[in-house]
């Protein structure tokens, strides 16, 4: 039997994958002139967590934020236009790939200082708590970010005040080219969060259903006043840290590791499972592919036909 929610999860992951691939394909044209960190391989995390949220919940992202932004409902046209530095971009050209925002979608902002937005999500949860709204806030970050002092300061304060915030650690084991084992002692990340007084959850970030189940529990807990939640999800970064290409020829990760990572594709894994239960047909996939291709093509057209911002505007809006 077909389940609309399952199809939506599948479609959302596929959409992020196709957007990122399209960006990678066109990056070499050198018209998107900003650093770009692709989300390929990690789609199940953003999609699974966002599926557990309500529309009014808010979210902050990081340098690798395309997936978070799109999963939360961020406007695709405004994102592509931003990458092309156009006036219609979500930051009017001031941000680029590493600074995405869509307030209507509750995506409050992404920035590339590692750890920079973690306390902001706590602050949003603090505001929600002070104003007695029912809102939950979410922050995505990587295993490298967990080494930042500001993260531990954020965990401490969120637990102290039992704030409705969900910390999502996407553990892809790499900070640029440096493996976790060279950066952290051998101990589970989520246990540190527990020691800070948070409820911690751990799971396979490449399994969308597992992510969703965990996220639903975490969101329910946070909304019911049970305090901050920490989710550690293992995943795999397919492409280079920054840029459109694969970089495994550099030899910084073992061939076996790469192979295992690619094998553990969250989209293939889910489509296989849906196929087996007759929940997803080949024609569904083809229909999604067609719709997504058209949407992406339209977004690129929108971006490329959008007005270029004037450098005369570069000194404006420094102060509110």
């Amino acid at each position: 039997m077909k389940n609309k929610n399952q199809l939506a999860l599948f479609r959302s992951m596929l959409r992020i994958r196709r957007v990122e691939e399209a960006l990678a394909d066109r990056y070499s044209e050198q018209e998107m002139r900003c650093p770009m960190h692709l989300y390929i391989g990690q789609e199940a995390i953003a999609v699974g967590v966002c599926a557990a949220l309500s529309e009014n919940d808010v979210m902050f992202g990081n340098h690798r934020a395309h997936g978070h932004y799109l999963a939360k409902g961020g406007d695709l046209n405004a994102m592509i236009a931003e990458l092309y530095g156009r006036a219609t971009g979500c930051c009017g050209g001031r941000g680029g790939s590493m600074h995405l925002i869509d307030l209507d979608a509750g995506f409050l902002g992404a920035t590339p200082i590692v750890g920079g937005t973690v306390p902001l999500a706590v602050g949003a949860a603090w505001a929600a708590s002070l104003k007695d709204t029912n809102q939950v806030s979410v922050i995505f970050f990587g295993d490298g970010c967990f080494e930042e002092g500001v993260v531990h300061e954020s965990l401490n304060f969120s637990a102290l005040h039992k704030l409705p915030v969900i910390f999502v650690c996407e553990n892809n084991e790499f900070s640029v080219y440096t493996h976790l084992r060279e950066r952290q002692p051998k101990r589970p990340i989520f246990r540190i969060a527990e020691a800070h007084g948070l409820t911690a959850h751990v799971g396979n970030g490449n399994d969308i259903e597992e992510v969703l189940t965990i996220a639903k529990t975490a969101v329910d807990n946070a909304r019911q006043g049970k305090g901050p939640q920490f989710i550690e999800l293992s995943t795999h970064r397919w492409r280079e840290h920054c840029g459109p290409d694969f970089d495994d020829h550099l030899g910084y990760r073992a061939a076996q590791e790469v192979e295992m990572g690619l094998k553990d594709c969250p989209i293939t894994k889910f489509s296989t499972r849906l196929n087996q239960s007759n929940s997803l047909s080949q024609s569904d996939i083809e229909r999604f592919e067609t719709e997504i291709r058209k949407e992406i093509s339209d977004a690129f057209k929108f971006a490329l036909s959008s007005a270029k911002p004037s450098d005369k505007d570069a000194g404006e809006r420094i102060y509110a």
Partner: protein, 362 residues
């Protein structure tokens, strides 16, 4: 302002009243800082606020300056107006990432879609062995960052009015208080009022030399101005700069066009100081109006030593200002008048405690 109830109160009482008025006016205003609700109440500037407004608006803080600055920014983006307090400005250095990368840039980098209404109160220490890490005057460092406003009021009147303006401002404001100002009194309305940010004010009128002074140096300049006037009949114009960013260059230019001479008195290290920046701008815009080269009066380019023996000549004061004025005017300093003037400036009490020679009002 008609029918305001005026009293002489100290700078710290004025800060406390400003916080209370702002919190009365807007339920979104909250306060957080290490020691805010403790018995010392940040030099009595937060006394009684938790009792009045409750623990959901008046917070103590974990020792997490950077993290909690980020938390305040996140709250500010969500409709709260936080006032964050550090007992020493030196502690705010731990929060430079959040202040510089997030607070200052959020409005700009997201194309004006959001703003960060955050006030960070920071206190510059002096005396009693505050030493290298409790007495820095870092206004120039903050003023280097577009997107931050930086103010340093001198009088209790300005402290209250500018604090309320800062809290109502939609931008991050670094609100710098000099510890030696806290006990100086001024005539202050009981009611809520505002003093605009970014405007200097004449503290003492004169025609001979413009002395543009920041924070506690405005007090020292006022002492110098009164002494020069009473002993030698020399009228210098003391401009209380009040803000560092935006910097009110226009008021300085207007004064310099009248006097033709400029001294800038700053509480900070000399090199890279806002005093240097102010002089640059005046030279660029009114070189022709200057009869002498401008002069910076600032602290030496080395950390403040702790020992009071070593720190005795560290800070410039009224004597430094008087000497700079007389040198600029080419006035002989080997006269009885000068010696009498110097005698007037000898202060009571140890050099490492606040000067009781001026206790206000302004």
């Amino acid at each position: 302002m008609p029918d305001l109830e005026m009293r002489d109160i100290t700078f710290s009482e004025a800060i406390r009243e400003g916080l209370e008025n702002a919190m009365d006016l807007d339920p979104n205003v909250i306060i957080i800082g290490e020691g805010v609700p403790d018995p010392k109440a940040i030099f009595n500037t937060t006394a009684g606020l938790r009792e009045k407004f409750g623990a959901r608006r008046v917070f103590d803080m974990p020792l997490s300056e950077n993290g909690l600055t980020g938390v305040c920014i996140g709250a500010a983006l969500s409709g709260v107006r936080p006032v964050m307090i550090h007992q020493r400005i030196d502690f705010a250095l731990l929060a430079m990432d959040q202040l510089v990368n997030n607070a200052a840039k959020w409005h700009y980098m997201f194309n004006g879609k959001a703003s960060v209404p955050l006030v960070v109160r920071v206190i510059v220490g002096r005396g009693w062995g505050q030493g290298p890490q409790h007495s820095q005057s870092l206004q120039a460092m903050f003023s280097l960052v577009p997107g931050l406003k930086v103010v340093m009021p001198t009088t209790a009147y300005d402290a209250k009015g500018m604090l309320i303006s800062a809290i109502e401002d939609n931008n991050p404001v670094i609100f710098i208080e000099h510890r030696w100002l806290h006990q100086i009194k001024d005539n202050v309305p009981k009611e809520c009022y505002r003093v605009p940010l970014g405007q200097a004010k004449v503290l003492h009128e004169g025609e001979t030399v413009t002395v543009a002074a920041f924070s506690y140096m405005a007090v020292e300049s006022l002492i110098a101005a009164k002494a020069l006037m009473s002993s030698m009949g020399i009228a210098i114009e003391v401009l209380n700069m009040r803000s560092v960013s935006p910097l009110d260059v226009t008021s300085v230019l207007n004064s310099v066009r009248k006097t033709g001479r400029l001294i800038v008195a700053d509480t900070a290290f000399r090199t890279g100081s806002i005093a240097g920046e102010l002089i640059s701008q005046v030279v660029e815009q009114a070189f022709g109006a200057l009869k002498n080269h401008p002069v910076r009066i600032a602290s030496p380019d080395h950390p403040t030593p702790t020992s009071h023996f070593m720190a005795e000549h560290y800070y410039p004061g009224p004597q430094t200002i008087v000497d700079a004025v007389l040198d600029m005017l080419g006035i002989d300093k080997s006269t009885d008048k000068y010696y009498k003037l110097c005698a007037m400036l000898v202060r009571d009490g140890p050099h490492d405690t606040p000067n009781r020679g001026f206790t206000g009002p302004f």
